[in-house]
């Protein structure tokens, strides 16, 4: 997932107004949009950016959740109040009140709100370590909190990584939903949600290859991310 992070720095598909609205062909497998941008390139760049953004949010959320889990039960009531509603229920009115959220504030808000939901399962994952004699031994031997953290960080990171897929998919859907209903980051940078927002009204009436392709990618991501469950 880390290889997706540089996707946030990818440039936009180049404009070519004289080649707008071309149907699918060899040169442009999904055709071009009204501004002459290659639809396949837009889809690839938008998908890469959405995945990169979700990865960044998920990593931030896990780091915050780890800090909260190690910090103990401080402010548990405040955390449970904020986590009692899904992140989107807070994000949507905030985005509407501020006229849309940019990438950075949206990423920080998603990471913060997801961290509140990730902290309880992460704390449960860490309990065996925090209650183990090896962890207490460090305390008894006089090691500082920083020293113990340094030696145990790989172990904590491995436990936190178990929650990475759910954090990732939560961030991906939050951004896609906000963008698809027109409250995400501005139109200057494509994302999967923005492509859906743009193509959604055309899906039922036009052939709209870009819309269908974006929908296929989103569906593949949804089913690809479903937790693998064992049959009873």
């Amino acid at each position: 997932m880390l290889v997706l992070l540089p996707a946030l720095l990818l440039p936009e598909a180049p404009l070519d107004p004289f080649r707008g609205g071309l149907p699918p062909g060899w040169a442009h497998p999904l055709g071009t949009d009204d501004l002459g941008r290659d639809a396949l390139l837009r889809l690839l760049l938008g998908t890469a950016r959405s995945l990169g953004f979700a990865t960044a949010c998920a990593l931030g959320a896990l780091a915050l959740a780890l800090l909260l889990a190690l910090g103990g039960p401080r402010l548990r009531g405040a955390r449970s109040a904020l986590a009692s509603a899904p992140p989107l229920l807070w994000l949507l009115p905030l985005a509407a009140a501020t006229g849309g959220l940019g990438w950075l504030p949206l990423g920080l808000l998603i990471a913060g709100l997801l961290a509140l939901h990730l902290e309880p399962p992460l704390r449960a994952n860490l309990q065996p370590v925090l209650r183990s004699p090896a962890w207490s031994a460090g305390q008894v031997m006089g090691a500082s909190a920083l020293q113990r953290l340094r030696s145990w960080t790989p172990h904590f990171a491995a436990r936190a990584a178990l929650l990475l897929p759910s954090a990732w998919i939560g961030a991906l859907w939050a951004e896609a939903t906000l963008s698809a209903i027109g409250l995400g980051p501005g139109p200057e940078q494509d994302s999967l949600g923005r492509l859906l927002h743009e193509q959604l009204p055309r899906l039922a009436t036009d052939p709209a290859p870009l819309g269908w392709a974006a929908l296929a990618v989103v569906l593949a991501l949804a089913w690809g991310s479903a937790p693998a469950q064992e049959s009873p």
């Binding site: 402010l75 109040a81 009692s84 229920l89 509407a96 939903t177 959604l200 479903a226 469950q229 009873p232």
Partner: protein
Amino acid sequence: MNGAGGWAVWALLLLLAWTLPGKVWRPASIPDFPVQGLFAFLVPLLALLLLAPLFALRGGRGLARSRLLSALEAPPPLLWAIALLVLWPAAWGPPGLPGGGLAFLACALPMEVRWLAQALPVEQPFPAAWGAAAQARSRRGALAALLPRWLAARLPVWIMSTLVLERVLGVQGLGSDWMARVGARDQFGLALWVAALAALWALARDRAGR
């Protein structure tokens, strides 16, 4: 002390609702409460309240590990709304609130069946060894005890789902009322919403025995 922290957060959110940032770019009148939308929400909600415990009762704890449920649960409300828009026959007119109710049920039912199935107590070795009747009685008892907390804990999730469905389908219902009041900067209406969410949080907490 923990409860006090939670109430402090709700007080802050109420304050935020009263002093909502930003300005309306055009004068907007405060929307009426969508009574029609509430009734349209109640029908799929009642179906959900009936069907989810029924499936959990039949399937038991094993349903929480079902691959089919997992696959049905994966698409978020946004995808169900898009699927409805694409599949809805044009001859029937716009999907409207009935279509939204259908999409809500398709989106929420797998999630809730899993929630309830996961919360059911372990049945091995007992009451499974005592026979099917004892097992069913144990499930019924557990579901009856879970019901109030399930409602309080999951209502915000259902409101969020209806909000997304209504925005994509272009209808005014219960979920989008929350956003309509943000749009019109209706401080009183928003404060009522925040108070309702706080009441649900308190109910879910108390039922959890904390």
